[in-house]
């Protein structure tokens, strides 16, 4: 059941009415039932894996909470890690792993032929696995008490707004909210609905419309070159943002309608002035997860192993940063999917970050010399940096979107050739192209005017008539300018 489907348009209001009619202490049961129904609409059998892994983590969490012996706690931690990562590996990475080993051994004439299982990974497995891992690790680190209510814990794992594509909310934040009773608050409910409409607009009108162009080019890249490839690449950058942030807005909005606060996943990432800042603004729930449970532990482990202050004339802390950022970004790429294109995408971002880290002092010095003090306060310079960062990010989105490495290399090598020929596909669909550009322009305009406050606040400060016209325009454009073809949410596939 997609958020942008008739089924969901019926499902959500029914759940909402029942939610406000149900006494507070039983709402968890209603939401749990609704979440499992939502999940089972896709493939009922995979709910069994969700239940099993939820029960294992619930048990491990309780046992860890009871025990004060480190060895015992570590045993339960390993049991949980094994079950979670085992399922994730089995469903998502096993075939990729076998295929990679096969191609690695092939030049040495070593026969390795494990047949591919071709299993479709359960929906949202990467998201709920990370949610459960954060819960278990926090208990192990004694940062959190285990949840004793199995139903509420199961709801935390399967909560329908975020089960398919996040945000990857921390148990410390979300679980306590299931103990509170939220009454009908007009401002909160309407705020949530408005956010849902905005998210739907981004997904249906912008992302899906751009997706048509992007798919045409990226599914047959060898038919195109130059300007067409450049436009399709920039379009994909916007498509993936509108698609994922649209999904997140809808998820946050529907949770807000019911009274729950989910964490923000995006903070206008394409207004970042550097790659480092981009990663502070993009998929925040994943990046903070990776920072807390991967980057920092690796950095700590590396710096502990380097006894001297400098190794090969490089500071120990720089070594720690370099190693941990590269590993983290490679795993971040792998998290997105079992394909070398994702791993290279992650690795390239790691290199960007490393380069940015290595040159930070030199760049600062030059900036001061050329542009003067406080250069980021100068709008032109800031604009150039934003544009440069956007281009850098877009360039490596190519690896993320391309169907294969050879396609990605073809696109990169042909970006600057064939500028003289007008992109034929855009001429064929002038109206669609125009609608897409207007919608994208509108989205960026809204982002431009909401630097310090959320979109809801931005709208709510305007006069009533203006707001109603805007809401009507948004709803009518969703209803009439949305794309007919089924283009699934990009991040739901991970």
């Amino acid at each position: 059941m997609l958020f942008n489907s008739v089924d969901f348009l019926l499902f959500f209001p029914i759940v909402l009415v029942l939610y406000f009619l149900t006494p507070g202490s039983y709402r968890w049961a209603l939401l749990l039932g609704a979440s499992y129904y939502f999940y089972m609409c896709w493939e009922p059998i995979y709910a069994l894996f969700l239940i099993t892994s939820t029960l294992i983590d619930y048990y491990c969490g309780l046992q860890m909470g009871k025990s004060k012996i480190l060895k015992e706690r570590r045993y339960y931690l390993l049991l949980s890690l094994f079950s979670n990562l085992g399922l994730l590996f089995g469903f998502k990475y096993l075939d990729f792993f076998n295929a990679s080993i096969k191609s690695l051994l092939h030049p040495f004439n070593i026969f390795y032929d494990v047949p591919a299982l071709n299993i479709v990974a359960p929906l949202g497995i990467s998201y709920y696995t990370f949610k459960k891992l954060s819960y278990i690790i926090d208990i192990y680190r004694e940062n959190q008490e285990p949840e004793r209510h199995v139903g509420k814990f199961a709801l935390y794992v399967s909560f329908f707004p975020e089960v398919t594509a996040g945000p990857i909310d921390r148990s410390k934040v979300l679980l306590p909210q299931f103990n509170s009773v939220y009454t009908f608050d007009y401002t909160r409910v309407t705020g949530g609905l408005k956010l849902m409409v905005w998210g739907m607009f981004k997904k249906v009108v912008i992302a899906d419309r751009l997706g048509v162009f992007v798919n045409l080019v990226y599914d047959h890249p060898h038919d195109y070159q130059g300007l067409t490839l450049v436009v399709a690449t920039f379009f994909f950058s916007i498509q993936i943002y509108a698609d994922f942030s649209g999904y997140t807005d809808m998820a946050i909005g529907m949770a807000q309608v019911m009274g729950y606060n989910l964490m923000d996943n995006f903070n206008r990432p394409y207004f970042a002035i550097s790659i480092t800042e981009f990663w502070r603004r993009w998929h925040i729930s994943l990046t903070t997860w990776l920072r807390d449970y991967l980057f920092l532990p690796i950095a700590y482990a590396v710096s502990r192993r380097i006894k001297r202050e400098r190794l090969m004339k490089i500071k120990a802390e720089s070594w720690a940063y370099a190693v941990s950022i590269l590993i983290t970004m490679l795993l971040c790429g792998l998290w997105h999917g079992s394909n070398w294109t994702y791993i290279i995408w992650g690795g390239l971002h790691g290199l960007y970050l490393l380069l940015s880290f290595a040159t930070r002092k030199t760049r600062k010095k030059w900036r001061k010399k050329i542009i003067g003090p406080r250069p980021n306060m100068k709008p032109f310079y800031k604009g150039v940096r934003i544009l440069f960062t956007f281009c850098c990010v877009s360039l490596i989105w190519i690896f993320f979107r391309a169907n294969s490495l050879s396609d990605a290399f073809y696109i990169i090598s042909h970006l600057l050739s064939g500028f003289e020929t007008p992109p034929a596909i855009f001429q064929d669909m002038k109206l669609e192209f125009f609608i897409a550009l207007i919608s994208v322009g509108f989205m960026f305009l809204v982002h431009l005017f909401q630097p310090h406050k959320g979109i809801r606040k931005l709208f709510s400060e305007k006069p009533l008539l203006f707001r109603w016209i805007l809401y009507l325009l948004l709803v009518l454009s969703i209803m009439n300018l949305g794309e007919f073809n089924e283009i699934p949410f990009i991040y739901v596939q991970f």
């Binding site: 489907s5 249906v204 109206l431 794309e483």
Partner: protein
């Protein structure tokens, strides 16, 4: 006690406040939905005329053009309405004459005005709705030409969800439902509403027969493998497309008979013709069986139509393989020579009927 009563009052006030805000919310939401409904109804008639990228890319998405065209033909008192599927307008490789079959008929019968309503995968159920619609109009054509594509009775065509054309049927039937569908067609498509009465799952679970023997389900045949050439794929595609045994209970056969009845009752001359098929290829892979099955099926069609007093032209085995465009599997797409042959046959009938018109 005092504290309790304060709490009671406080809860009471909160409850009233909640109820008030629920009321306010429901009123505003209803108002918003009513305005949206009203504006959408107004907008839809304008916006439907714009083709979306989906309708450009997906030829099975509903298009308004066909209905506009039909109404224009009827308004102009066109003599002949020629229905058809993609076989009418698809050209062969290297065809110098790029006229469609309908276009050729038009040129061969200059005494008549002719309008064609053709669309990929149109079929008998839809032709029936078109006939019903036409008979309800004040201006009616003298002739309606309806091709009978033998593949349209196969599960591949008959049961495919994209080929059900439910929207078109609703629009042709008219009434309030038509107005609602026209107003909300786009939003429903955007929210992935499935208009088809047959789900994809049902389609894939439809049995495929070779005569009376079940050869499998649609899912076994519908894997696009027939798009790549191999002897086995070719054989499978012939089974999938043509080797069924037709009976009078088939829904498209019923539609065909009903269309014939309606047209006869309304004094519109119906000309049905069975489109030529590449029987040589069929016979090559199923010697003896293919022609026998085809004859059985075409004879049933002819007998049923003749019983209704309608003229039917059986062209199914008139042309050899060289008249057909080859697309990795046997098909009904004709080269210019094939289209010309069909057009001549139809024109011949029409020109003989010219006398009727003059009378």
């Amino acid at each position: 006690m005092r504290y309790r009563s304060f709490m009671f009052n406080f809860n009471g006030v909160r409850k009233i406040r909640d109820q008030m805000s629920i009321k306010k919310f429901i009123v505003k939401l209803t108002l918003f939905l009513v305005i949206t409904f009203f504006l959408q109804s107004l907008l839809s008639f304008y916006l439907l005329r714009f083709e979306t990228s989906a309708s450009r890319l997906n030829k099975y998405v509903f298009k308004f053009d066909e209905f506009v065209r039909l109404n224009n033909y009827l308004k102009a008192k066109t003599d002949i309405i020629y229905f058809g599927d993609s076989t009418i307008y698809t050209l062969g490789e290297g065809d110098k004459d790029e006229r469609t079959t309908a276009g050729m008929v038009k040129d061969m019968t200059p005494c008549y005005s002719l309008g064609s309503i053709t669309h990929a995968a149109y079929h008998m159920d839809l032709y029936l709705e078109f006939c019903r619609y036409i008979t309800r109009q004040k201006n009616r054509p003298y002739f309606i030409i309806i091709p009978i594509n033998m593949r349209s009775f196969s599960p591949e065509w008959d049961r495919r969800p994209q080929y059900q054309f439910e929207i078109e049927k609703i629009i042709l039937r008219g009434g309030l439902l038509k107005q609602l569908v026209l107003a909300f067609y786009k939003p429903l498509c955007v929210f992935k509403y499935n208009f088809s009465t047959i789900s994809r799952k049902e389609f894939l679970n439809t049995p495929v027969f070779n005569g009376s023997q079940q050869m499998g389900m649609v899912r076994d045949f519908n894997n696009k493998s027939y798009l790549t050439y191999s002897e086995n794929n070719l054989k499978n595609s012939i089974i999938y497309f043509y080797m069924y045994t037709l009976n009078r209970e088939h829904r498209k056969v019923k539609s065909m008979v009903e269309a014939a009845t309606i047209l006869t009752q309304n004094n519109i001359t119906a000309i049905f013709y069975i489109t030529p098929i590449d029987h040589e290829t069929g016979e090559k892979y199923f010697p003896g069986q293919f022609l026998k099955r085809l004859r059985h099926n075409t004879q049933l069609i002819c007998s049923l139509l003749e019983a209704e007093g309608v003229e039917v032209l059986d062209l199914s085995i008139d042309l050899t393989s060289k008249y057909f465009r080859w697309v990795r599997y046997p098909n009904e797409y004709l080269r210019q020579t094939g289209r010309k042959y069909v057009a001549e046959k139809i024109s011949h009938i029409l020109l003989n009927k010219e006398i009727d018109k003059r009378i």
